[in-house]
Each structure stands twice: as structure tokens, then as C-alpha cells.
Amino acid sequence: MIRIENLTFRYTGAEKPALRDVNLEVGDGEFVLITGPSGGGKSSLCRCLNGLIPHFYGGKIGGRVEVQGLNVMRHSTKELATRVGMIFQDPENQLVAMDVERQIAFGLENIASPRDLIARRIEESLDTLGIADLRRRPVQELSGGEKQKIVIASVLALHPDILVLDEPTSELDPKGAEEVLGTIERLNDELGITVILIEHRLDRVVHLVDRLVILHEGRVAVDGTPRQVLADEKITRIGVGIPPIIRLVQGMRSGGINMDKTPLTVKEGRSMLESVFQNAKRATLRETKTLNGNPIMNMDRLWYAYANGVTALKNISLTIREGEFVAVMGRNASGKTTLVKHINGLLKPTKGTVNVAGIDTREATIAELAREVGFVFQNPNDHLFADTVEEEIAFTLKNLGFKGAEIALRIDEILERFNLVPHRHQYPRALSGGEKQRVALASVIAARPRILILDEPTRGMEYKLKNELMGFLDEYRNQGNAVVLVTHDVETVAEHADRVILLSEGKVVVDNIKREVLSKALLFSPQINRLVQAFEKYGVRGDILTADEALEIVT
């Protein structure tokens, strides 16, 4: 049982409180999903539940938090650890030991459990999570999903009654995320552990939870069953990433179609929406632009082998044209990143050629290619090192040989475009997550590269920021540049890309306009496409990809 009464908390040195007057009660065995835009207080609320706030993070706290009858202000995190298990975003930073067994034993060692008990709990935790086969593997060789499961096992070994998970899947690929979420669901369902989960991607979990809480500006904005909350109009205003199928239903409602229930899954959608689609119009779809820009990047029979002998790319030939938005998709280790690293010369072909704007990459340095190709990596923190935002952007320009007046001009322009003018003289690393992302992007775009590559920029990103980023990319593409996006995010691709390249084991499996690739593909179909496939018998086109397209034919 968790009881939070009038909880208000402000970090030392912060201007605004992170939590204001929060009241929440969670019963035993409940599965609660917490979501909302960043800066809404989700993480702070979690950290109050095991006493990291106020014992670890200093600040001003008011109100009362009671967990299993213990007041967290008076009990240390150590005492609370056997009641509340905490799991954070990045599994890497939660693994303190080099081997699996010692990682799981760590918590129990800390509370001085006898050795035979530890041995028993290790077995138990490994079996509960079904990861007994990992026990002898060194942790640094494991995948992100496996690492996160080991973290969960090490928390579970302390036998907590409550699990609190702060975006546990944001650093994982879809397969890892799926597995971790499945595990969490099972822990709740079979063992009756109370689960409090923070997650941005509602479509993955919303059907599993008992309750959905939206936090906004430190307050509980909406609280109820998923159906109630998702039917609430407030959430669109707040900016919560609503699953496409629910966006479709909301669109129908505002379009005058009477919908009394809200489907949470594709399966529910198929039965609830059948009558609507039976009478759908046969509208033609706006076709994606034909691919006829000037080619700016050309790969010709490209092979690449790593120094250890593993062949990562096999005989790849493709062309990228101006004004194209290309998504590169595929499983983990299918060669996506290896492929795009060839475009800016970070990797040079083992065999075959890569030609960028008339330059053979083998004969150019990365710095020379950087004028033509910009590369934005996943973590903006890897980009930022300068003292001010302005210097951060100037660094790229200076490296590329631009001179004084030109640099100043471009900086002004780019700061304006990315709404960074007020932050001009600030320390980039102290900015918020979204602002950091903008600075990183700005520092690359300032060089006006004709090809812009982004390696999984949306992983773990919340809805609002993702929208903002995709807005910038659409605009940049419309200026006649090519955008290459490496991603796992099918919904984003369905909304924004023109063309999809699907890689598997270093080979191009499909390379076509998105409608061809994404419709009727088992794994890579967006939610709406999976829905409309059921209605093809009524003459609905099977290659509809987004909620907006579907709305067009039903309203």
C-alpha cells in the first residue's frame, strides 16, 4: 500500500517545485502506469517512494509519503529497499558487478543475509525471470534487454512488495523492450507485486495496466483506468503520446461519429470499429513524392568487414537523392549503423565504392566530408563540451574552415531557427533534455550539410520532443536536403519518411517507398495498418499507414 498525501518537493537550487500537492493512493497488486511530458515530475515521484528523495537528493519536502506503513522521511533507503525495488533507465549504470551472480547477490550482501539464503534467492530470481542461462556470462557481453532483466533480478532478490520502474525500456531496442515489459507484466500478474511503471510509449503497455496516471507540471492531471484517461480530452492538450488507434478514435469523435468505447489494442479495435469501416469511402491516398531528385550519395557494391573478420555489409548498392526522407530499419546488428557510417566516411568500404556529392569517400577525410554530410548521434550529451551554446555551434563551423563573419551569421540564423537565442550564452550541458537535443542538432545543421544522418534520435524520447524533432527534419528535407534516419520506430517512419530501406544480416532486403514496405509486413507494420488489414474485405485499402489517412476515409 502506498499513500501519498499533499506531497510537495523542490530540489535545492531549483526555482520551481518538481512536485506540487500530489495525492495518490496505490493498492496492493495494482499495476499503475505513469506518463506525461518531461519535467512533469515522474522521476521525482518515483524517487520519493524509496526515500532517494529526500535522503539522497537534498531539497524542501512537504506532505507525507507512506509505503507499506513506513514513513519515507524517517526510514532510510536501505530500510525501504526490501519493500520497494527501484529500476532505472540505463541498465549499464545499475550493474555494479562483473558477473551475474554477484550482481544479484549485491543487495542481499548489503543487508547481511546468510550465504545459503543468498544462494536460494539467486536461483529463485534467475528462474522467475527465465534467465538462468545468463548466469555464467560476463555482464558486458550481454544485450541491453538482458542487462535490464538482470537488474530486475537483482532487485527482486530482495523480495520487494512494490516495483518502481523509471522508463526501464528507454535505452533498449524494441525486442529488448518487449521482453522487459512482458516480464514486468508477469511479475504483477503471477506474483502479485505492485508495479509502478513510467513509460512514454503507451501502445506497448496501456492494455496491461489497471490504472493510468498523467503527471503534468508536478501535479496529477488525470488519474483513472486507461479507458477513462485516454477518453479525456485534457491529455491531448498536455501532450501525451497517444497510441495511433486512440488518436483515430478521438478524431472520429470530433468528426461526429459516435463512439462510446475506446479500444486499447488492435484486436479491440477490429471489433469496435468494424461498423465504422464497413461504410468507409474509397478515397485515394495522397501518394508520396516520386523519387526523382538529383542523386547525392551513391553506394556501389559495398562490402564491409570489421577487423575481427565479421562481415557487416554485403554487396550493397543504393542511391540517395536530394529532398528525400529515408528511413533505415532492421533488427539489432543488421548493419544499419555500419551502413550510415560509410556515408560520412567514419568507415571506409572494404570493397566497392561510396560516392558523396562526387567525392569518393576513400579519398576524403571525415572532416572534408563533414561539409556535405552531417551526422547526429543518439545521445546529445556526446556532442556537448563547450562552455556556451554559441561556442558549441561555432566549433563545427571552425572545424570545417568557415571564417569569422560567416560563422557569426550562421550562428545567429541557426539559434533563431532552433529557438535557442535565450540560451546563447548558457552552458549546454545544463539545459533540459529537449534543449540539448536542439543544440546538438543545430551544431550539425549549422554546416548546412546536404545529407543529414540521424542514428536512433528518438529512442527513449517523449512525444512532444519527438514531434518537435521530426518537425525540424521535415523542414530540412523540404529545403531540398536528404534526411537519413536510422530507427526502430515504425510509427515515426509511417508519419514522416518517404522511403524505407530494410536491412537484414548486412543485406538490403527491401528498398522502396514506405507504403510498399510498411503495409502488410508482420513486424514492421504500424498499428493503424494492422487495424485496416482486417477491413480489406469491405474494400478498405490495405496500405493505409497513419491515423490521419484512416480518418480521411471514415469521415
Partner: protein, 308 residues
């Protein structure tokens, strides 16, 4: 790139109780330093070979030995240039350097330098076994068992654990900055160091962020001050291990006793002593080498007993 020098090759030496290995390395180090006799040093060096071969780390060992040879040359040269002692003068400079005296090269100094090279080779060879066959984690466990302060051991083990992570970070950050047009190998030394700032600062800052998250995770796993803790994994001492360790301590004692009784002494200066070792000395020395080897080689006995 940066990778553990340790590889689990699964040999008996790899599986040997880390205490026995540590004790063996310490014994070699101590004997190499207390004995001056060139024959002793040579045998000591040779006695590390069977261990290297049994651990199948010959190639790794050879690469270490190559580097060590440079140090050996330095040792010989420094001794030849420094020791004006010794009666067999090979070369004498026709001038005097103030304070330093007249540079003289003597036979004694050269032999001394060569003997000292053997001393170095024996020590480095023993340490190579340590580097290549003890997993860092096992070393930590030994440190805990030896009652070294736990927090220091934990810090070391955490630090080792995060090296591969930070190496990945480093590679990624370096890719990021090179993609932004950074050229690492341009300019003179100050410029080269300066250009690496854009890599070092994010690496440091990311690591500090990690430190916060690591400590949050540790707190959440009930790590806190005050009460005592238990240790799940411990270095188990089988009967063979206990025998081996006892033997190891006996060996060190025996070596020290030999040294105190005047064995293994050798006079390099002012005139090289004639190497004359009696039957007693040979047998005592062989016994010592056998004892030393058995500290490691008893492990073979253990394996056959494991099969029962």
C-alpha cells in the same frame, strides 16, 4: 583497444586458487631480490617457464619479454656506466667529469648488469602469469579475504567494471566529434592535446552523470553505511589448496633460511668470485626450486582428485 589482458583459457593454472598464485609470485619476487648469485637467478627465471607453458600464455609472455629486454639493456648499460668499481677494467675514459669521476667500464659491472637482467626477467615473468591468469574479480575476492578494507576493494572492482563501458563511450564520442570535422592528428603536441578536449570533456561529464546513477542504484539495492555485510562469493579453500599454501609459506621460509645461512650470496665487486657450488648447495637449491614449482604445480593433483 583496451581489453583485459586476462583470458580464461581454462587451464589448471587459470583455475588455481588465486592465493596460491599470489604466493608464488611473491615468492619469486622475494627470492629474486634476496639472492644475488647468478646461477640462482637463472634457475629462478627458468623455473617460471613450466608455469608459462602450463598456462598456455607463451605468445603473450613473449610479447612482454620483448619489452623487458629493452629494460635489461638499460640495466646493463647503466651499471656499466655507473660502477667504477671492479678490478678488470675494459675501458677507461681519458678525462674526468667533476663529481662523477673518471668514467670506467669494468667486466664486473657488465656481469653484474647481466645478472640483474636475469633478476628482472624472473620477476616480470612471474608477474606475467599474474596478469594473464588471474581474473580481476578473483583478485578482488582475494583482497577481501585478506581483510583489506572493503570500500577500497569495491571502488577498484566498480572501476574495473566500468572500463569497457567508458571505452564504448569514448569510441562513440570520438565518432561524434570527428563527424563534426574534428581532426585529431593535425598540428604539434599542444594542438593535438587541445583538439582532444572535445572528446575528454563529454567523456568526463557523462561519467559523472553515470556516477550519480550508479550510486542511486546502489542505494536502491540497500547499500548503506553502518551495519555489517556478508559476502556471497568467497575463495573456497579445498584441502589441496590448504596444503599448497602451507607448502608455499614453508618455501618462503626455507628460502629465507637459506639466505640467512649464507647460500646464494655472490661477490661481484671488486673481483668476480669464482662460481663454485658444492654438492650441498646444488641439492639445497634444487630443493628450493622444486618447492617453488610445486606451489603451482600441485594444482595438477587437484584436478585429478576433482574427477573422482
Amino acid at each position: 583497444m583496451l581489453a583485459f589482458r586476462y583470458r580464461d583459457k581454462g587451464t589448471v593454472i587459470h583455475k588455481l586458487n588465486p592465493f596460491c598464485k599470489l604466493l608464488w609470485v611473491v615468492s619469486v619476487l622475494v627470492f629474486a631480490l634476496i639472492f644475488d648469485h647468478p646461477v640462482y637467478l637463472l634457475l629462478l627465471f627458468l623455473s617460471t617457464m613450466p608455469v608459462i607453458i602450463a598456462a598456455t600464455v607463451r605468445n603473450e609472455w613473449l610479447s612482454v619479454m620483448k619489452l623487458t629486454l629493452y629494460l635489461c639493456i638499460a640495466i646493463v648499460i647503466i651499471n656499466m656506466m655507473l660502477s667504477y668499481h671492479g678490478s678488470h677494467v675494459l675501458l677507461e675514459a681519458p678525462f674526468r667529469i667533476p663529481v662523477m669521476g673518471t668514467p670506467t667500464v669494468t667486466l664486473e659491472a657488465m656481469v653484474f648488469g647481466l645478472a640483474m637482467s636475469l633478476r628482472l626477467l624472473a620477476i616480470i615473468s612471474a608477474f606475467a602469469v599474474l596478469t594473464f591468469t588471474i581474473h580481476p574479480d578473483d583478485l578482488m575476492l582475494s583482497m577481501i579475504k585478506m581483510k583489506l578494507p572493503y570500500k577500497s576493494v569495491l571502488v577498484t572492482s566498480l572501476s574495473t567494471r566500468f572500463i569497457p563501458t567508458l571505452v564504448d563511450d569514448l569510441e562513440c564520442i570520438s565518432d561524434v566529434q570527428r563527424s563534426r570535422g574534428l581532426e585529431l592528428d593535425k598540428g604539434k603536441l599542444p594542438q593535438r592535446i587541445k583538439s582532444r578536449m572535445s572528446i575528454m570533456i563529454p567523456l568526463l561529464c557523462n561519467a559523472l552523470d553515470r556516477a550519480v546513477q550508479v550510486s542511486e542504484a546502489m542505494e536502491s539495492l540497500a547499500f548503506g553505511s553502518g551495519t555489517k555485510r556478508t559476502f556471497y562469493k568467497e575463495i573456497r579453500m579445498s584441502r589441496v589448496d590448504v596444503v599448497t599454501l602451507t607448502l608455499g609459506f614453508f618455501t618462503i621460509g626455507f628460502g629465507i633460511f637459506m639466505c640467512l645461512s649464507g647460500f646464494g650470496d655472490y661477490q661481484y665487486y671488486p673481483t668476480l668470485e669464482v662460481i663454485s657450488m658444492g654438492g650441498l648447495e646444488w641439492s639445497v637449491l634444487s630443493l628450493l626450486i622444486c618447492l617453488l614449482l610445486s606451489v603451482v604445480m600441485l594444482a595438477f593433483v587437484k584436478r585429478s582428485s576433482d574427477l573422482d
